[in-house]
């Protein structure tokens, strides 16, 4: 088989074997509807309760503050629309940032069309929001601040505690999209002062189509999905029992040997950054040098375009991305890279390599060896390159 090096862990992750093993019994042995009172149903109910305890513990929440959803996007939509519609009598102003995931941005844009007002905070060259600006943006009718924990493209980690403090001091709800942060950064929702937080299973070796929303006790929001009495009547739909059980197992594994795991990712990341910087000219690291996700590497590679780079890398078995995988349906340059001030060319020439638990030293070396000649080949084709190199 062709060598395959997967370096797109921020897009999605393979299921860990332990996760699959935990899920399997719930497909056809213990498959009952958790709402049913007979034995089959109670087995499923217990499995969900147990999963909820595990997820809650991993972020220091109470079990009844965890609500399972169909993924990170649903969690983001629920949090933002739920707060907006549930508090519109108090005000119609929302604050977010320009570098949020589309699940937040497009939800906010939708709400603007429906009569809400949204302030999109800009970020600095590293992708950090400015706390002073945030303070100044808060109005008497502000009902929600939604700022992501860590960015999916450039990996930048926001000062969440400080943001939460500002929100709390003004009695404004604070939501954070922690889809990328969960499992990669220790999160204590109580200590940080978070009101709502979105997480997703498939970014931490759990199944796609399962996520959760942490809702602090007492926070008032509308439902997104009405119907049956599941999730304490706040999110309807027959529970995805295998998905939920798999999510909890993945969260448990992520929080075992947490520090070691982070150290491992960070060292591979730094090795990759150093290796590529050394071997390739005219490249720039995007995002913050230290306040960044342990597995995130994002470079702008001058004079070449992302898609052709991805295709060339795919030919040698390297899977990675240029901009967010979730947004690659669009060919526009990444809004995140534009927001940190890159030119269109640099944004287009960005390469995101994200490292995960199955990444090895050899994988990193393979990339450090394979990438430079590919870059060189593409640059030779580029009309932008000839000028630099003094071509005719």
């Amino acid at each position: 088989m062709k060598k395959r090096v997967y370096l797109d862990y921020s897009a999605t992750t393979p299921l860990k074997q332990e996760v699959l093993d935990a899920m399997l019994p719930h497909f056809n042995a213990s498959f009952g509807n958790p709402s049913s009172i007979y034995t089959y149903g109670r087995e499923s109910k217990n499995a969900i309760d147990n999963a909820r305890d595990i997820i809650a513990k991993s972020i220091n929440a109470k079990s009844d503050e965890i609500f399972f959803t169909g993924g990170g996007s649903e969690s983001d939509n629920w949090a933002i629309k739920g707060i907006a519609y549930g508090n519109k009598h108090k005000g119609k102003h929302i604050i977010t940032s320009k570098i949020e995931h589309h699940a937040v941005l497009h939800t906010c844009e939708y709400l603007e069309k429906e009569g809400f007002e949204v302030t999109y905070l800009k970020v600095d060259e590293y992708g950090l929001v400015n706390l002073q600006e945030l303070k100044e943006a808060i109005r008497s009718d502000t009902i929600l601040i939604s700022i992501m924990f860590a960015n999916n493209e450039i990996g930048t980690i926001q000062p969440i505690k400080e943001i939460a403090e500002i929100a709390n001091s003004k009695q404004v709800y604070f939501h954070t999209d922690a889809v990328q942060a969960f499992g990669n950064i220790k999160i204590d929702v109580k200590e940080l002062g978070i009101d709502l937080m979105s997480i997703s299973a498939h970014k931490i070796y759990g199944p796609k189509g399962t996520g959760a929303l942490y809702i602090k006790k007492g926070v008032k929001l509308h439902q997104l999905i009405h119907g049956g009495a599941q999730e304490k009547k706040r999110r309807a739909g027959t529970e995805n029992v295998p998905g939920i059980v798999g999510f909890a197992k993945a969260a448990e594994l992520a929080h075992e040997n947490f520090d070691e795991h982070i150290k491992h990712l960070t060292s591979l990341r730094d090795k990759l950054i150093a290796g590529l910087k050394e071997k390739i000219e005219y490249i720039h690291l995007n995002g913050h040098p230290t306040k960044r996700l342990p597995g995130n590497v994002n470079f702008s590679i001058e004079f070449i375009e992302g898609e052709s780079l991805l295709l060339s890398l795919d030919m040698v078995g390297i899977a990675c991305s240029s901009g967010s995988a979730c947004t690659s349906g669009s060919l526009d340059p990444s809004h995140v890279l534009m927001s940190i001030g890159l030119t269109h060319e640099l944004a287009h020439g960005s390469l995101r390599l994200t490292i995960g638990d199955f990444t090895t030293e050899e994988d990193i070396e393979y990339v450090i060896n394979q990438l430079p000649p590919i870059v060189e080949k593409l640059r030779q084709m580029s009309p932008l390159y000839e000028k630099v190199k003094g071509g005719n």
Binding site: I37, K232, K233
Partner: protein
């Protein structure tokens, strides 16, 4: 959902049935919401010497009826009146929160039977003041507890 003790009483309820020519009968519940409990007492010298019940209701209603009859048998009328639904629930190793109201039905059935006895015999008991057996025990309003 239910403790083993609840299930055990549900599957093998004690004191099911009727007493012929009882000294007291009480029936509570709201037939509209589906649950009815009927309690028969034999009382000698102010002591409950026999008790039987019939219940149209959920598992927890049947188990609490059964447990309540066990708990009042051999007790004085006054002691029986002091039986609380919490005590019945505890004796069953607890009930799920949405099912606590079923144990209220058992407490009310005992009270209602003793009310009948007091009325027939012109007696006064502490704890019966203000008790109205015909009041609708609207115990089904638990849908939005959470």
């Amino acid at each position: 959902m239910y403790s083993d003790k609840v299930m055990e009483h549900f599957m093998n309820p004690r004191n099911v049935g009727e007493i012929e020519n009882p000294d007291a009968v009480g029936q509570v519940g709201n037939p509209k919401c589906g649950d009815i409990m009927k309690m028969y007492l034999r009382i000698e010298n102010d002591v409950i010497t026999d008790v039987k019940f019939k219940t149209f209701g959920c598992g927890s209603a049947i188990a609490t009826s059964s447990m309540a009859t066990e708990m009042i048998k051999g007790k004085t009328v006054q002691e029986a009146l002091n039986l609380s639904n919490k005590a019945v629930a505890e004796a069953l190793d607890g009930l799920p929160p949405v099912k606590m109201h079923c144990s209220v039905l058992a407490e009310q059935a005992v009270k209602s039977a003793i009310y009948d006895y007091a009325k027939k015999n012109n007696k006064q008991y502490e704890g019966l003041e203000g008790f109205d057996p015909n009041e609708e025990h609207d115990h089904h309003h638990h849908g939005d507890e959470e």
